[in-house]
């Protein structure tokens, strides 16, 4: 990824974020056994692979008319929650913290050319210690994931119908123990660290506002017995929060290296060919639009749409929302673990029809 910014008198007047890697997963999936998508698509990304196995499984369930049991949903969502925890801890400590905290000397990895470090030595060094402490907790989140999902990254447990292996009392107890440790780290170290950094970089609450439109497909939602534990499919354009309508999503490729039949196709209609020489284009990433407008997703969007975070919309708010979402998800996982019944696993011999469609 790259960012190109035009700066005039210390103000960013234009910015282009560039995706600079293309592999072509959509093309690769054509002609393959549909079930393979569950494993194949995970390789889109190593830090969030679980999300792709879930999306693929859900699409296949819709296409094949497969119902998921509630127990299957709980187990699958627990695996997903573990991935979130791993992801958020690593995103905050390994990707965000080095921008604000001076890390110890002696390793080339931590050298940087910027000097805007504002925390007093004691606070700085405490968060630097937590950078290293965090490694065992994010690793632990993946250990927890693997207990149910076989391995991480690129898990095996998630599959249409739910999961491939049932929970056992031993697994549940083991996971609960790991989760409580992770949760304690999130609450006692990660969240205070984020707020400490925010105290010394207050102007980051005034920059990076974006368009202010939020969207989510829903997260830990719509359980038969438990209801919605986090957030339903919602969007917040034009100042009101309303139900999400996925049919209003289009993909704009004006500035992307693709030739398309028309400029704004829905994902299902789009037939794109990579075209690195397209004039005016600067990225492999397409520009998704909802009702023709740019929308934001992620921790801030989810926390905002369910009303749990309304402090503001900015660069620093995104970081705070992320660490708060980690705690929220840890709490949700505790609930889901309470409701898991050992020994339940529903897998069938699934048939693939001649044609089907699932989103």
């Amino acid at each position: 990824m790259g960012v190109n910014a035009d700066i005039d008198h210390n103000i960013v007047t234009d910015a282009r974020t560039e995706g600079l890697l293309f592999r072509g997963f959509e093309k690769m999936l054509e002609g393959r056994n549909p079930f393979d998508a569950v494993y194949f698509t995970q390789r889109i990304c190593g830090i969030c692979s679980t999300a792709h196995s879930i999306a693929s499984s859900m699409a296949l369930e819709e296409a094949l008319g497969i119902a998921v049991s509630q127990q299957g949903r709980y187990l699958r969502d627990i695996i997903h929650g573990c991935e979130f925890l791993q992801n958020h801890i690593r995103h905050f400590y390994q990707f965000t913290v080095p921008d604000f905290i001076r890390l110890p000397e002696g390793s080339a990895l931590f050298e940087t050319d910027h000097h805007d470090f504002r925390l007093p030595k004691q606070k700085n060094d405490r968060i630097a210690r937590h950078y290293f402490d965090s490694l065992q907790y994010s690793r632990s989140a993946h250990e927890m994931l693997a207990i149910l999902g076989g391995k991480a990254p690129h898990n095996h447990g998630i599959f249409p119908g739910g999961v491939t292996a049932p929970a056992t009392p031993e697994k549940i107890a083991g996971m609960r123990s790991l989760l409580l440790n992770i949760r304690r780290f999130v609450c006692d170290q990660m969240i205070p660290d984020a707020y400490t950094i925010a105290d010394y970089y207050k102007e980051y609450f005034e920059i990076g506002q974006g368009y202010g439109n939020f969207l989510t497909f829903g997260c830990f939602n719509g359980y038969e017995k438990l209801g919605t534990l986090y957030v339903d499919p919602l969007e917040s354009g034009s100042g009101r929060i309303t139900k999400l309508d996925p049919g209003k999503i289009t993909e704009n490729v004006d500035s992307s290296w693709y030739t398309a039949k028309s400029e704004t196709d829905t994902p299902y209609q789009a037939v794109l060919e990579p075209d690195r020489k397209k004039s005016g284009a600067y990225s492999w990433v397409k520009a998704p639009r909802y009702r023709g407008l740019p929308y934001e997703v992620g921790p801030l969007a989810r926390m905002w749409l369910c009303g749990q975070y309304r402090h503001g919309i900015s660069s620093m708010d995104r970081t705070l929302a992320r660490v708060l979402e980690a705690r929220k998800i840890a709490d949700i996982l505790l609930v889901l673990l309470e409701n898991v019944i050992p020994g339940v696993c529903i897998q069938k011999e699934y048939e693939v029809p001649q044609s089907a469609r699932g989103d």
């Binding site: 600079l20 393979d36 999902g149």
Partner: protein, 295 residues
């Protein structure tokens, strides 16, 4: 959650190979018996899953390696420097001693423009250029993961970005550590071995014998079911998953004993078949991963 395989002393010893090697290497660096050498980790045309897997290492773990065993000069995901400053550190290594670990395949389409890994002195640096420049001069080149080793998922048919494994772009021999991702033990153990003793013993596909010598099928706890012809017809059942498409019989890796993420589980242990992710034919030759036609 069986954390050790103490039924057979041979298997137990194999499990300890990586941690023993890393422990020795870290100790040797501490006592100045060997230098703390530079490591460059390049993320090429891939998913960075091998970096995440590295962070998931238990014994050995990433922290001890990064702080004590080697000096990591460059890692796109983990380094604090950004942009031009990061590129300075990468190009500054040329002419010096360094070990190169590369994950991800290499896109060769349009002279590599389908994968730009940075910008330096005003021009784009492609994965294609970087692997050749840094690969030829390195003291040792390790292909981490199946994409770097043999093309992997990045090169899956129809290979839109025209990806290849890194060996096809380098004249010198590369140590291949396939796996999707590569298990942290396989990488850290190989790295430690190289620091202490030089190149480990490799098979004819350039994979270290200490991790890749045995078929999953020959170590699989479900092998008695296979031998007795008791086959599962759907996922989650106890029997052998050969008829569902398990690639254990053709895949060389020690997953059945080493397992994953602190030895808590592995694909077959989770009621789903091996998909052959550590083999050179992955994914095209390993598909379909799941087939319900079990007659």
């Amino acid at each position: 959650m069986n954390r050790s395989n103490d039924s057979c002393p041979n298997l137990s010893m194999r499990l300890e190979t990586a941690s023993v090697l890393v422990h020795k290497a870290v100790g040797a660096v501490k006592r100045n018996r060997i230098p703390r050498r530079n490591l460059i980790w390049l993320e090429l045309t891939g998913c960075s899953g091998n970096t995440i897997s590295l962070l998931d290492g238990f014994h050995p773990d990433f922290k001890s390696v990064a702080a004590q065993m080697v000096n990591i000069l460059y890692s796109n995901s983990l380094m604090a420097a950004e942009g031009e400053a990061a590129m300075e550190r990468l190009f500054g290594a040329i002419g010096g001693d360094y070990i190169l670990a590369a994950e991800g395949a290499v896109s060769t389409k349009d002279n590599g423009l389908y994968n730009i890994i940075g910008r330096w002195k005003g021009r784009p640096v492609t994965a294609y250029e970087a692997i050749q420049k840094f690969g030829e001069q390195a003291a040792c080149v390790v292909a981490v993961g199946t994409c770097a080793s043999d093309g992997g998922i990045s090169a899956a048919r129809p290979n839109p970005a025209e990806c290849v494994g890194i060996q096809s772009l380098l004249d010198r021999e590369v140590i291949k550590l396939p796996g999707c991702p590569c298990h942290p033990d396989w990488f850290l153990g190989t790295l430690a071995y190289f620091l202490l003793f030089g190149e480990p013993e490799l098979d004819e596909r350039q994979r270290p014998l200490m991790f890749y010598s045995t078929l999953i099928h020959d170590l699989c706890p479900r092998r008695p079911y296979f031998d007795r012809g008791i086959f599962s017809s759907k996922l989650g059942e106890k029997g052998c998953m050969f008829k569902l498409g398990c690639r254990g019989p053709v895949t060389r890796a020690d997953c059945p004993i080493r397992k994953w993420n602190g030895r808590v589980n592995w694909p077959i242990g989770d009621g789903s078949p091996c998909i052959g992710c550590a083999m050179f034919g992955f994914p095209d030759a390993m598909e379909p991963f799941i087939s319900y036609d079990t007659t």
